[in-house]
């Protein structure tokens, strides 16, 4: 009963005299169909990357399928088919380089897996060959993971989590993690500069020579800063209503389109056929 109250409250108070048309115009405003692309296409010159990626939930499904491949000991044929399928969305998303890297790695590793070291007369190749097989088994997970990681914007990710009813106590830390990564990198650079100026543990070797000490010198300022940032971020987020008990909406809208369902079915077919024993 508490949660419904502030929402009503919002609706009334946001109708301040400064921007009266905003709410009244929204229902049928044709220029704002409400998809994520609307605002970005307005901005000339900046990332007019037409979003050609799947729904985050579909990406999750692909990841799960990749994991299932491990569970069900799929055959090499199925593996090759599925890896090829997994690479298609990466190409569509325009990640040519990544796709090429994965494709080459997979091809080389698969090739190594088929080597017959005894016939070649180099027995120690067995080790490499076995390792290569191990890696090819993990690769589908990495491919789908890279796809999910590189093509999902933070807002899509958050929206998907909220849609899947992930509790807010997991969603909020996830937003913060994404927000805080670049800060850590920048902090690290600053700390290394400060260490260089003081002549302590300069250069790569300096770090390794006394690892515990280096760890202390880097971690302590990093953690001190982290506690400050956590406090400042909390203040800013609280005043912007992050703790609000009502429904949180999302500007970014995600929906499962036909292509998403299609993708899910297409990856399932080889897997099911493999489990059924059709693909040998």
């Amino acid at each position: 009963m508490r949660s419904s109250l502030p929402v009503e409250h919002t609706a009334s108070t946001t109708l301040t005299p400064i921007q009266p048309p905003v709410v009244s115009m929204t229902p049928g405003a044709p220029t704002y169909s409400g998809t994520a692309d609307d605002c970005s296409t307005e901005q000339p010159g900046h990332h007019i990357r037409a979003v050609r990626t799947l729904d985050p939930r579909t990406k999750l499904f692909l990841l799960l399928t990749a994991n299932l491949m491990l569970f069900f000991h799929v055959t090499v044929t199925t593996q090759i088919i599925l890896v090829t399928i997994f690479l298609i969305p990466l190409v569509v998303a325009g990640r040519w380089k990544l796709t090429l890297n994965f494709a080459l790695t997979y091809a080389v590793l698969t090739g190594l897996g088929f080597l017959d070291p005894d016939a070649l007369g180099v027995p120690w190749l067995h080790v490499i060959s076995a390792l290569a097989v191990g890696c090819t088994m993990m690769l589908p997970c990495f491919i789908t993971g890279a796809y999910a990681f590189t093509t999902t914007s933070p807002s899509e990710f958050i929206c998907a989590m909220r849609r899947m009813h992930v509790p807010e106590s997991v969603v909020i830390p996830c937003v913060v993690v994404i927000r805080f990564f670049p800060t850590i990198a920048e902090d690290y650079r600053q700390i290394r500069n400060a260490m260089a100026l003081r002549g302590i543990a300069a250069g790569g070797w300096g770090l390794v020579r006394n690892p515990a000490q280096s760890l202390e010198y880097i971690l302590i300022p990093l953690l001190m800063n982290a506690t400050n940032v956590a406090q400042d971020l909390s203040v800013a987020a609280v005043t912007k209503g992050l703790g609000h008990t009502g429904m949180h909406t999302s500007r970014t809208q995600i929906r499962l389109r036909i292509i998403d369902w299609l993708a899910m079915i297409v990856v399932l077919i080889p897997l099911v056929l493999d489990i059924a024993g059709v693909i040998q």
């Binding site: 800060t183 203040v235 005043t239």
Partner: protein, 487 residues
């Protein structure tokens, strides 16, 4: 006229604090007014701004008494998200107050939290972006924006829900003159649109003409209250006596211009300079890489050189080049007349960073100064005691550096430079967010270093510091036409 902020006998003591931060504040702020809260550091102005936007008692805990109504709501019982659509807040540090990685997400953030429908959010974003002229930034990562841009985004995000009241807590302390001017325009525009504005601020000059009333805080109480005309008519001496920053920066700017022209004309001084640059061009590669040429500069012992110019004109890059943290794009840096490698520059120079927390590593001030030196050597211990004494740090010798105030930390960092025998000491924005008293303290410290024969270089936007304490001024933006960017 209705009052948007109404405080009756408000007092507050922070958790774990002995002294109250606010005592018996009674005040009402009428709708549409702009009020400036000023006073020395620790006077209670930031605390009062937190009372107004409900962070106290909802977020900062402690002992609170009296009655506070903000936009008609009792902040003691109203949960803080009830105030969100009514009160927008902007804070001091541009780096730590955005919650989302992308500009557009940060703008939609408050609206999403309030549960507005997506179409309404997009409308508001378009409108806000136009009002703050940030359309080209919408799809950028906030991380890569300048401090001024970040603060503009923060202001834009704070107004996304069209609040009635805007609370700004030292919004300009990290900004350059251009960004402050932009901030002034925007705040004036918001006031004209009817918003009530409460600003806690050290730098007062930008608020002339916008502010309706000035409240001078002292030790948690409102010491003086002035109407704008009354306040602006006060003599500079009177303002200074209250510990406030200048209201009129014109005399300071003139003095800076004068110093700059002197610096340009007095080119050939007799002895070998500690550091000089010849045909130097600086920059770095990468996505937002750039290069620019630097006029030949000479830095002598005993000088206090102010390095000025708006953000993005290469001050930080120059400083990093001079301390050898990055390689020059071309040209040479001479140390005592001889071309120096970056490694030698790093050994000779020291940079007191804007965020000094990064450069304190030890668990006591004394340890910090002796870090990397032989502690058993009595000469070092003696030197250390001397430096502690000089920098007025003896009292804190056994304290943890992180438990000290910002100014004290700065002095510890300088102390560590003196212990290492550095001859060039560079300070990056040492007075950002400081009141007059602490700013003057920094100025005196610069003079002390120069008197010890150090070469002091200060990167600063602070006109009062530059005019009052620098012996030379170099403004990088004034010969920017020689520079080129490749972005």
């Amino acid at each position: 006229m209705t009052a948007d902020v109404y405080s009756n006998n408000v007092s507050f003591t922070y958790e774990h604090a002995d002294e109250p931060a606010l005592i018996d504040i009674t005040l009402s702020i009428a709708s549409g007014q702009c009020i400036v809260l000023c006073g020395a550091s620790g006077c209670g102005k930031t605390t009062y701004s937190r009372i107004v936007n409900g962070l106290i008692p909802q977020f900062f805990h402690g002992e609170c008494s009296g009655a506070q109504r903000t936009c008609g709501l009792d902040t003691a019982i109203e949960p803080i998200d009830g105030l969100t659509p009514l009160v927008g807040s902007v804070f001091q540090n541009p780096k730590t107050q955005y919650f989302n990685a992308k500009v557009i997400d940060e703008l939609s953030f408050p609206a999403e939290n309030m549960g507005l429908p997506p179409e309404a959010i997009n409308k508001r974003i378009a409108k806000t972006a136009r009002r703050f002229s940030i359309e080209p930034l919408l799809n950028r990562s906030i991380f890569h924006l300048s401090g001024g841009q970040k603060q503009r985004i923060a202001l834009a995000a704070a107004t996304m829900l069209s609040p009635r009241l805007l609370v700004l807590d030292e919004p300009t302390s990290n900004l350059d003159a251009v960004a402050i001017e932009k901030m002034r325009e925007l705040v004036a525009q918001l006031k004209a649109a009817g918003m009530t504005i409460v600003v806690a601020e050290h730098r007062l000059a930008w608020l002339n003409g916008i502010a309706d009333r000035y409240l001078v805080f002292d030790n948690g109480r409102i010491a003086h209250e002035y109407e704008a005309a009354e306040f602006l008519a006060l003599s500079p001496g009177c303002i200074g006596a209250m510990g406030l920053r200048a209201l009129d920066l014109q005399p300071y700017r003139q003095r800076i211009a004068q110093l700059e022209s002197q610096t340009a004309s007095s080119f050939s001084e007799s002895p070998t300079p500690l550091l000089s640059t010849r045909n130097l061009s600086i920059g770095y590669r990468g996505r937002d890489g750039f290069t620019r040429t630097i006029p030949d500069l000479d830095f002598h012992a005993g000088q206090i050189i102010g390095l000025m110019g708006h953000n993005g004109c290469g001050k930080t890059t120059l400083v990093r080049t001079l301390t050898g943290l990055i390689k020059p794009a071309s040209g040479t840096v001479l140390l005592n007349g001889k071309p120096a490698k970056p490694r030698e520059l790093t050994r000779a120079g020291f940079l007191v960073m804007q965020d000094v927390n990064y450069q304190l590593f030890s668990d006591s001030v004394r340890e910090e100064l002796l870090l990397g030196l032989d502690e058993s050597d009595p000469a070092n211990t003696k030197h250390c005691n001397q430096v502690l004494e000089d920098l007025d740090l003896t009292r804190f010798a056994d304290r943890h550096p992180m438990s000290l105030s910002g100014g004290q930390k700065q002095r510890v960092a300088i102390g560590s430079a003196l212990m290492c025998g550095k001859d060039l000491i560079i300070l990056d924005e040492p007075t950002s967010g400081l009141d007059r008293y602490h700013m003057e303290h920094v100025g005196e410290l610069l003079r002390q270093l120069a008197a010890q024969g150090k070469t002091v270089l200060v990167v600063t936007h602070d006109e009062e510091l530059a005019a009052g304490w620098c012996t030379d001024i170099i403004n990088l933006e004034h010969n920017e036409d020689a520079s080129k960017t490749n972005s």
